[in-house]
Symmetry: C2
Subunit: 204 residues, 2 copies
């Protein structure tokens, strides 16, 4: 696409680098910003640049944060002796939205996946083990995606902390609410039968 | 959505202001930028801010431009005595992509639409009339969207320049290439019959 201005061309090229945004959508967004006030468009650009430049990662749980320690880790109303282990920041946001977890998090920054060349050393696992030891954590809840990589990661960490008096749990896996048995894959159905729950526990 | 950082929250809010981008998509885009290098994300923000701040509009045709006169108006290989009248910059880009027009443009910046409170005074019509007079334009080609507002605008401008020796044309309207007669609306079909062309002219 030949654009009449190199400034416009640049802006479109930058937008088109984003995932799921093609050249036509990029042009539509840039022309929208062009119609706004100068301050409005500047504010947009600055919010993005500032976010990337000034954002910090919590030194305790590796969640994004405005300061050295994130708002969840510094919240005394939350159970600081419970750690929920997640893969990414996006998982933290998803779980926080449910308002069901009153503990803290630990963001691994990925998942053990030998095929992709990601080993335990590239993840925040050492810091997690040290943290459990130092903070005398009472419960470690794994909220990882239910697949081979997730299970490998759970297995690895579990071995590492087997000597510590910490309860290890994982989020329930099974047929999703609203799902249909008929269309569930074999593995999910098999596991949901193997891990069946007493009804009292289910409906509590 | 409760986000763990106000910087993140700001960036997501800015993205979510864009047309067709909801909160979830905004978050996905921001987290993508967060994974990039600081320079990469800064470059994105700056390209947008700079684009809006430094972009100019051609003083002759009101197209976007890097300088006072755009690259089309200053191109001596193009027929400077032909003006194609369009509604927006996006139309210029669409027509330029076809590489079928060797003349110049005039961006009206909108279309006469009394229902939306847009009259001729809010558009670049006076400047167009002055330009035709001064530049001794030979052909004025209307490339406006084929609807009532477009036709009203053509009618208005045509009356204004009736005394000038300038040929006035409009882009052909009819059944779109690849379209099916059966599904064409009545108006389009009726007009395409009324404005039928000799086959020689059509296939030339």
């Amino acid at each position: 696409m030949q654009l009449p201005s190199s400034l416009l061309q640049n802006a479109v090229a930058e937008f088109a680098k984003l995932p799921g945004i093609g050249k036509k959508t990029a042009l539509r967004l840039v022309l929208h910003l062009l119609k706004q006030d100068v301050t409005e468009a500047k504010q947009f650009g600055e919010a993005i640049a500032r976010m990337r430049e000034e954002i910090k990662f919590c030194q305790r749980c590796f969640n994004v944060s405005d300061g050295d320690i994130c708002s969840i880790c510094s919240n005394s109303l939350r159970n600081q002796r419970m750690i929920c282990v997640v893969e990414t920041i996006r998982d933290v946001i998803a779980i926080e939205t449910t308002q069901q977890l009153n503990g803290t998090y630990h963001v691994l920054g990925g998942i053990i996946s030998p095929l992709d060349g990601i080993g335990p050393d590239q993840l925040n696992i050492e810091t997690l083990v040290a943290r459990i030891q130092k903070e005398e954590t009472e419960e470690l809840l794994f909220a990882l995606n239910p697949n081979i990589q997730g299970d490998t990661t759970i297995y690895y960490i579990q071995k590492k902390i087997a000597h510590l008096p910490c309860r290890i749990t994982t989020i329930a896996r099974g047929i999703a609410f609203g799902g249909e048995l008929e269309y569930a894959d074999e593995m999910t159905l098999a596991r949901s039968i193997a891990n069946r729950l007493p009804v009292q526990q289910y409906v509590k």
